[in-house]
């Protein structure tokens, strides 16, 4: 475990906790952005530059903007209509239980003791060529999904015509 990893991991986990626990929803969204950026940093640590920058472009540049717009449109900034929850402790207990199970299995697994092998530069060119050959069907399905999602989002959010 290196120092950069420790710093980025601490930042990511801390901001993730802030993102789900703060009262003000805009603050939650901003902490979420910090989590996304921290994850991008972790991807860079793992030599996945392309995914790291894509993460910033898509999540910090687009998804977080969607979220803050939705927060403003639904007037969720005033925390009055959120009496927290009836039984928050059940949810937290489930999450902690899940984490403990996963942590035990991760630390016990022989896979987690692998060392990172040597690696050449990850070429974006081969990534693109793979997308166009081996992964062309998933790519087409993805294109269809994105088109459908865009049309769907526009139609759902479109203001209904006033019935006269």
């Amino acid at each position: 475990m290196t120092l950069p990893f420790a710093i980025i991991a601490g930042l990511t986990v801390g901001s993730a906790i802030a993102a789900v626990s703060l009262r003000n929803l805009v603050h939650c969204a901003l902490s979420l952005v910090l989590t996304f950026a921290g994850l991008a940093g972790l991807y860079l640590q793992l030599n996945a530059e392309f995914i790291g920058f894509t993460q910033i472009l898509v999540y910090v540049g687009a998804v977080s903007i969607l979220i803050v717009f939705a927060i403003l449109f639904t007037r969720s900034t005033e925390p009055k209509d959120e009496p927290s929850t009836v039984t928050p402790w059940i949810g937290v207990a489930v999450a902690i239980g899940t984490f403990l199970t996963m942590a035990v299995s991760i630390l016990g697994s022989p896979v987690s003791r692998r060392a990172a092998g040597p690696m050449g530069e990850v070429s974006v060119k081969t990534l693109g060529q793979k997308l166009m050959t081996d992964y062309v069907l998933p790519l087409e399905v993805m294109a269809l999904l994105l088109t459908a999602a865009m049309l769907g989002a526009v139609i759902i959010a479109m203001r209904e015509k006033e019935a006269k």
């Binding site: 789900v20 994850l39 898509v58």
Partner: protein, 103 residues
């Protein structure tokens, strides 16, 4: 602690934080934020396993993460459109108050 288990533990932590958020918060947007966190934790797992695999040249983990980012973006767009729609109908984004079908 080995590097891979470090990444996996961070990923597990983020996943569980997202889970806790989705389970305890009542605002629909907060539920969506929790789900986004869980998706991102899964992405981190893909990248970590890809980096520590025997054949990183095949880039399978990268591909999976790339597709998952695209799906997450589509999901966020549709989910937030739904939330805005629900808000217009019910004047609230609280998932507990949207219970017209409750018998």
């Amino acid at each position: 602690m080995s590097p891979l288990s470090g990444y996996l533990l961070v990923s597990a932590m983020i996943f569980c934080i997202g889970l806790a958020g989705a389970l305890t918060r009542r605002n629909a947007i907060m539920v969506l934020i929790g789900i986004e966190l869980m998706l991102n934790a899964a992405n981190l797992n893909f990248i970590a396993f890809w980096r520590f695999s025997d054949t990183p040249e095949t880039q399978t983990g990268l591909m999976f993460a790339l597709f998952s980012i695209a799906i997450a973006a589509a999901e966020a767009a549709v989910g937030l459109a739904l939330i805005i729609m629900i808000y217009r109908h019910f004047r609230t984004a609280n998932v507990d108050k949207v219970e017209d079908m409750k018998g």
